[in-house]
């Protein structure tokens, strides 16, 4: 083993008392051993008490501006390519997640850029008409005063191997002054801990209000403590995982699930002229290659409109070419048997359809060879939205009119989130309106699907508002208090 990296951030617990589980990750010919923290039930309880007490004693009294400054400094550290944490991230994350070095480097920068001071202020302004209500009572529009408080103990249950994805919810919690415990994702167990360490370095008092740990899902002890102690649980994962978690969370605890999602893209005929086709195909290819479609925002299906100067099948060939070109700069990681099987099953299902002698359901063309690190399937007829085989596989669906797409995706409302669109302004808005009705919550340009902007509303929810509880002083109390003032007439 070349390195053993201790994951997590556990203030208030003596380092030598913390049990560790060593997990080896292998990719790109290297091995990284990660020592995941494993706490006993008593340690979990002590950690919850510590975080809750610090949140009440110190975090509550901190101005939001101070928290913003600390997050800004932590992000600056991790954006600085000479900083030791950043160097560690660039060295270890490719091995742990399997993504190529360039993808990790670009992805880290792109995510961390959204956690600088201006972006954080925008984040606050998105959800709060007056972010001052996080610091104290503020006049309410309807009369009286209002104040917002985050939970004393907010538990994040992270999942997945997309680097730095947990930072979105971690930062949201801190901005509303929540005492925070995060559970690392087994598939990317490092970034959240490093970010917490960077926060602690930037503002030691804030670092005491934040813990990052791990436990084996479904195994008693610590898990039960964390799930019952938290005032609010924000959880990520597949529906089965979320259902199992929800069953263990008391009914009085706020449970905010973020399930898996499927993304798709749309290209209008007006975007398909000979000058624009190549660059557009490259942008779609970037969305597909970035994180190997493991992120919920990545496109798995592409609806391309007939009637433009470039036909949909020609666009599919441009896309295949762009994917092939990107493969040399961003090699695909080695797939495990399950992933290869999923991809093979998706390919062969289309292949069988293409071979069907009757040709009824034909019209499927496979571009690329099974040994290529990408796959494009071109369908001549409109079909409802469905997943691809992931890992750089995409279905290009030919449609006569993009206006039909909202109906094709609507059956899967529960899984919708991001749609990338290339269309003229009037159509963009018209189609977006129908997509919103079908359950789509985020619409981006092609090439930006995997990079949500600062202050985005994850799954259409208010990332900060969902976490807080408001206390209102109604106008009557405010007015009545006047009667008791020393200066009352």
């Amino acid at each position: 083993m070349s390195t053993v990296e201790e994951a997590g951030h556990l203030p208030g617990l003596a380092a030598e008392t913390i049990g560790r589980r060593i997990v080896a990750h292998r990719a790109w010919g290297e091995t990284v051993a990660v020592a995941l923290p494993e706490l006993g039930g008593d340690q979990a309880r002590a950690l919850c008490d510590h975080i809750r007490a610090r949140a009440r004693d110190t975090l509550r009294g901190m101005e939001t501006a101070r928290i913003v400054a600390a997050i800004d400094r932590a992000s600056a550290c991790l954006l600085d390519r000479t900083h030791p944490l950043r160097r560690k991230a660039e060295a270890l994350l490719p091995v742990v997640t399997g993504y190529d070095r360039e993808t990790v480097r670009l992805g880290l920068t792109s995510t961390l850029k959204t956690f600088r001071r201006p972006q954080l202020l925008r984040f606050l302004a998105e959800d709060f008409s007056n972010p001052g209500m996080l610091d104290g009572f503020q006049p309410a529009v309807k009369g009286g005063l209002v104040r917002a408080r985050g939970p004393d103990l907010l538990l994040h249950v992270w999942a997945g191997n997309v680097p730095a994805l947990p930072l979105w919810s971690l930062v949201s919690g801190l901005l509303v002054k929540a005492g925070t415990v995060g559970k690392l994702a087994s598939a990317e167990p490092l970034t959240a801990g490093w970010f917490a360490q960077a926060i602690a370095e930037a503002d030691p008092a804030l670092g005491e209000c934040l813990a990052v740990t791990w436990w084996k899902g479904g195994e008693g002890g610590a898990e039960a403590v964390f799930l019952t102690q938290a005032e609010c649980v924000m959880a990520y994962g597949g529906n089965d995982t979320l259902a199992a978690l929800r069953a263990k969370v008391p009914i009085t605890t706020r449970f905010l699930p973020h399930g898996h999602r499927i993304g798709f893209a749309m290209v209008a005929r007006e975007a398909l002229d000979s000058r624009r086709t190549g660059p557009l195909a490259r942008l779609v290819a970037q969305d597909i290659v970035r994180y190997e479609q493991q992120g919920c925002y990545a496109p798995q299906m592409l609806f391309v409109e007939r009637g433009g100067p470039t036909a949909p099948d020609e666009f599919a060939r441009h896309l295949a070419h762009a994917l092939a070109a990107l493969a040399s700069r961003h090699p695909r990681r080695r797939l495990d048997p399950g992933e290869a099987a999923a991809l093979a099953a998706w390919r062969s299902a289309h292949e069988m359809r293409a071979l069907d002698s009757d040709g009824r359901s034909g019209g499927a063309t496979l571009l690329g060879d099974p040994t290529d690190p990408w796959s494009v399937v071109l369908l001549d007829d409109a079909v409802t939205l469905g997943p691809s085989g992931l890992n750089r596989s995409v279905t290009v669906v030919t449609v006569d009119d993009l206006a039909t797409v909202p109906a094709l995706v609507a059956p899967h409302r529960a899984y919708l989130q991001t749609a990338g669109i290339a269309a003229a302004p009037a159509r963009l808005v018209a189609i977006a309106d129908d997509l919103a009705g079908s359950g789509v919550t985020r619409i981006t340009a092609l090439g930006r699907m995997t990079a949500p902007e600062a202050g985005w509303h994850h799954d259409g929810r208010f990332s900060l508002l969902d976490l807080v509880t408001v206390t209102e002083i109604e106008a009557s109390a405010e007015a009545a208090a006047e009667g008791f003032a020393p200066y009352a007439e």
């Binding site: 999942a159 598939a187 597949g238 992120g295 798995q300 048997p337 399950g338 992931l390 529960a414 899984y415």
Partner: protein, 363 residues
């Protein structure tokens, strides 16, 4: 086609001779595999298109390992038959428990299937014994005419069962009382007995015995035979717990608990030499060979690496001999170990993968 056309009768004759010899060299297997590839390529149009799409034709394929293997799902989507399907003497269909459609295998004659089954069963299950009293925990052929397992078990009973053998699954399900009476009788008589059936069919029997506090000590020479797994028909039991349970309930050592691995899309079955250790080494007769491949490229993996099993069954002559399964396995000396189904894995991140999507669509 530059080669001489081979007729179905010639293929059947060659296969029956091959099976009759009981052993085969690598060259003999390869020669017949290539001959069958030509036959299937010529007469099975969807398979021909599949092979052509991979650039594999009788002109380019020189080794049996290069004969393209059809994904098992194709048996659902395509009519894979060299003879006109309506001329088939029998069509075996999968139970259709997973997903849409049922996989179909067309048999213009059952002569080869039956010869293959009998030779394998005699060698690996009977092991030199002529007949044994059988209790069968699966519906018979009249109830399930399209079930390859019902036919298989009927052959077993007909050719290797004593006259007092019986089927204990009728129109109303398992006849537990009759089964328990037969087992008690076997226990008392000292005559070896075999219980054969679907894996899941043993579960309610185990449960009933536990509930009644009843155990049997079947006479020496008895054996248990299960196949097919749980298929959602009963609760799932881990292999070690399952065979411990069988062993305890019937008084048969785990060495005498045999598992057959077969499928509708094959005409030959694999066996182990008991389940003292799970997963056991599986192997088949000389007319079936297995490879472990990368499912995406179809390329052979180095021995000892886990991949997806490809079975090449010469006896499955009318449809396609080479099939890409959805079973994970690893090649070991003497055969392969079966490591369960290859599940298309969930995404590693937060995107929906096919499995979760399908589960949601099916409610």
């Amino acid at each position: 086609m530059s080669r001489t056309e081979t007729s179905q009768a010639e293929i059947v004759e060659a296969l029956l001779a091959f099976i009759g010899r009981g052993s085969a060299t690598d060259a003999e297997f390869e020669a017949l595999a290539l001959r069958l590839f030509v036959y299937q390529f010529t007469h099975n149009a969807p398979y021909r298109r599949f092979a052509q799409a991979r650039g594999r034709t009788p002109l380019t394929v020189r080794r049996w390992r290069d004969i393209p293997a059809v994904p098992i799902k194709a048996f659902k989507d395509l009519t894979l038959s060299c003879c006109p399907p309506e001329e088939a003497e029998r069509v075996f269909m999968t139970s259709g428990t997973t997903g849409s459609g049922r996989g179909r295998s067309y048999h213009p004659t059952l002569a080869v299937y039956d010869a293959s089954m009998r030779a394998g069963f005699a060698t690996r299950v009977m092991r030199g014994r002529d007949a044994i009293r059988m209790g069968i925990l699966f519906p018979d052929e009249t109830a399930l005419p399209n079930s390859s397992l019902a036919h298989y078990l009927a052959l077993a009973r007909e050719h290797f069962g004593t006259p007092d053998s019986a089927v204990f699954v009728g129109p109303t399900g398992l006849d537990l009382d009759a089964l328990l009476a037969a087992l008690a009788e076997a226990e008392a008589s000292g005559e070896p007995t075999a219980l054969l059936g679907a894996t899941y069919a043993f579960v309610p029997v185990l449960d009933a015995l536990k509930e009644r506090g009843r155990r049997f000590a079947l006479p020496p020479g008895s054996f248990l035979f299960d196949t097919g797994g749980f298929k959602g028909q009963s609760r799932e039991i881990e292999p070690d717990a399952f065979y411990d349970g069988l062993s305890a309930a019937f008084g048969v050592a785990r060495e005498s608990c045999l598992n057959m691995y077969g499928m509708t899309e094959l005409s030959t079955q694999f066996y182990d030499d008991g389940n003292a250790v799970c997963p056991p080494v599986k192997s088949g007769p000389p007319w079936i060979r297995s490879r472990v491949v990368d499912p995406l490229t179809g390329a052979d993996l180095p021995e000892g690496e886990t991949g997806v099993l490809v079975h090449h069954d010469l006896a499955h002559f009318n449809s396609v001999s080479a099939i890409l399964t959805e079973d994970a396995g690893v090649i070991v000396p003497g055969g392969f170990r079966l490591l369960g189904r290859v599940e298309g894995s969930a995404s590693r991140g937060c995107s929906v993968a096919v499995a979760e999507f399908l589960a949601a669509a099916q409610g």
